[in-house]
Amino acid sequence: MSTRASDLLTLTREGLYCPLGSFHVDPTWPVARALITHGHADHARAGHAHVMATPETLRIMAVRYGEDFCGSSQEAKLGETLRVGDVSVRFVPAGHVLGSAQIVIEHEGVRVVVSGDYKRAPDPTCLPFEVVPCDVFITEATFGLPVFTHPDTRGEVRKLIASQRLFPERAHIVGAYALGKAQRVMALLREEGWDGPIHLHGAMEKLTDLYKREGIPLGETRKVVAAERKDLAGAIVICPPSSIQDVWSRKFPDPVTCFASGWMRVRARARQKGVELPLVISDHADWPDLCRTIRETGAGEVWVTHGQEDALVHWCGSVGIRAKPLHLLGYGDDGEAEPVAAGTEEAA
């Protein structure tokens, strides 16, 4: 066999690069041709000459960066095989956020899957992850330590509703990333029978409207009017993580600070943010799912892009799978990848 995985994908300053197809995947700098896995700002940046992504991801990028976020764009329909340069390319659901996809790259019988960020847990706001058998699986490792096993999200949302019933005189302020997490929390609240209005920080509005236009039922949402914050006793309010400790949130009646994130499983993380009600809800695969997914792809080799790569690489070695960390810089700004990043996400 003449083709090797390293011919299909290499590492450049901008990130992963496919020389045979002359394109980058989720580059962190402007490039000539970019294939984008999903709409989070650390993966989808503005300023590329040409972008290929799922229709939903392209619309998310247009909402975040404006219609002129790139020179030209091409829709990749899920499951459809496309030719880019000398390779064939296929986008497959990743289960991370609306429109998120894994990118399957193939040439002369060698198949590499760039999974982007992904999860296996059910999510009412996006299509579920599909396992694609491959030779090389490129995985994230945001929660790549065995201390991370995410609980059932239903129990977490029930905690929130129970706390709201216990403290009807207080407002519950839920920090959640503006793309994906916020809408998932809304959809989960609806599944658990919360039928009151859900109040939104202004930064949540455009993307939530986009989700609704894409046909995802989220029920009644209301933008918080600054002057009316003091009247929102008993309300559930969703805002960016950076706002939960802001003066913005202090104007609500005796606010209960909540945060929806996989990091909330670790006490110290919750305390660092001054969180009183931690909600362990994550859009990333937990440790058992990372390990299970690697096994299910049947990959003989695993590359780890970002997160807690050391542990996952070690585990692969212990079960006889070749693995290496890529130490990609620039990823992990989606409010979950590193706890410090949560305060720096842009207002979308």
């Binding site: 670790v266 006490r267 110290a268 305390r271 009600l277 807690q308 542990a311 590193e338």
Partner: protein, 568 residues
Amino acid sequence: MNDFAHLLDRLGYEPRRNAKLRLLQDYFARTPDPERGYALGAMTGSLSFREAKPALIRGLVEARIDPVLFRLSHNYVGDLAETTALIWPAPAEANEAGIGHNNPPPPSLAEVVETLATTAKKDLPGHLATWLDALDETGRWALLKLVTGNLRVGVSARLAKTAVGALGGHEADAVEEVWHGLEPPFASLFAWIEGRAERPETLNPAPFRPPMLSHPIEDRDDLDKLEPEAFSAEWKWDGIRVQLVGGRDREGVQVGRVYSRTGEDITHAFPDLAEAITFEGALDGELLILRDGRVQSFNVLQQRLNRKSVTGKLLEEFPAHVRAYDLLASEGEDLRPEPFSARRERLEAVIRRLDHARIDISPLVPFADWDALAAARADPASVGAGEDADAIEGVMLKRRNSAYLPGRPKGPWWKWKREPHIVDAVMMYAQRGHGKRSSFYSDYTFGVWREAPEGGDELVPVGKAYHGFTDAELAKLDRYVRNHTTKRFGPVREVAYGREAGLVLEIAFEGVQRSTRHKSGVAMRFPRVSRIRWDKPAAEADRIDVLERILARGEKEIAPGASLQEDA
């Protein structure tokens, strides 16, 4: 145990003192004896049992989980108990039907404490594993915190006592008064609080009294708000705060006790002081080492404190001394409600009568106004401190008409520490922190310039600092570390440093001592980041000479009799 664990968990997430108090009161009201008494014991640090060493816990986990994965997890989470609680695999039966009918029920706190108190060392791992299997995640976390003697969960002993007192409408100080002499599970305390029995007798003839603490003066503005004529000033000695208490037991035998400021009985470590307690009463003062009548530096005191066994040689080389500054009780009379000025007069009389070489009185520092006091603080030798000036770390201000109030009341007592030393150093390594800082790169090893053996200049590490910055600054420092990493060693990262690259940290510190652990041969006392010099080029950071000079000044204390060196 699960119930107690969930209380601790909720307390940990609750920032508001009054809400914590409500949670505690509610727990004590609804939980029966002896469970609540052991809970009180756990929160006040008064349980005694064979503690489990971290190595034992690690051994239990590593029999179940790949040690490498466990170590990486521990590095990341930053807390052994929490890592173990999260990573502990569910026992096999529990997975099958949801409820493991073969598993024992989770243990009560009383069962845990009573078992630990009597268990043999070899049986400890077995008990722990059984309990860990039976408890939920939060229960495992609390159990491990408890058995490793690490149960700090945002509740002070004081707050727990306040909650217990409030059950029966008593103040915390009323609980403190009877506290020494009681033992877990405190059945007689709860019986009294709930009005079912008489106040417990204090059996301790020489009880500890909670100390009065001071607030810092941060700058002259703080000072200018106070009226100088209402205050007395004393030197703030660089030793450790102790309480000397003497009394007679029921047989009439004299008992002398030395307590630390937290109420720990440390008499056994200071037999030389204990024999000096020939009075009946309680002295508040500073423990110092005196040689030929001269106060030695804190470095010297530390050499005595660090020793485990108290030998005759140690007593001779490091003679302990107490410099008293308050009198809390005398001849059975409680003097704490008296004003400071009256207590001071009584103290002077007691010390005079005692006439013991190991106990003297901390002199008052005369001053007319704040400028005069500022001058005294800047140069203690000029106002009578003489050769002890180097052991003075500032001045204390005590309002003359103030009673002795336990805790840290705002207003009556102030400490005005001398200016710290300052050095500009370059960040070289960063390590992830623990607790509130876990996963942030919050511990910084820094270095200063020196001549390299092979010529030219090099940075040599001289210390480590992990506080002094705000949370917002920490976030920026953490980001800086991540963006300037050159090498990784587990939880430690090396950052870029040199003449052309590097971040300058202004480090404040209290002193310098010789160190064999640091390559530079010096170590700093209480180093902390006083400013982040984003603007300053690393090449302009300080040289090691700055520290050497401070060290040279301090060493004349360590080597008594050596000729005094000129200050540089």
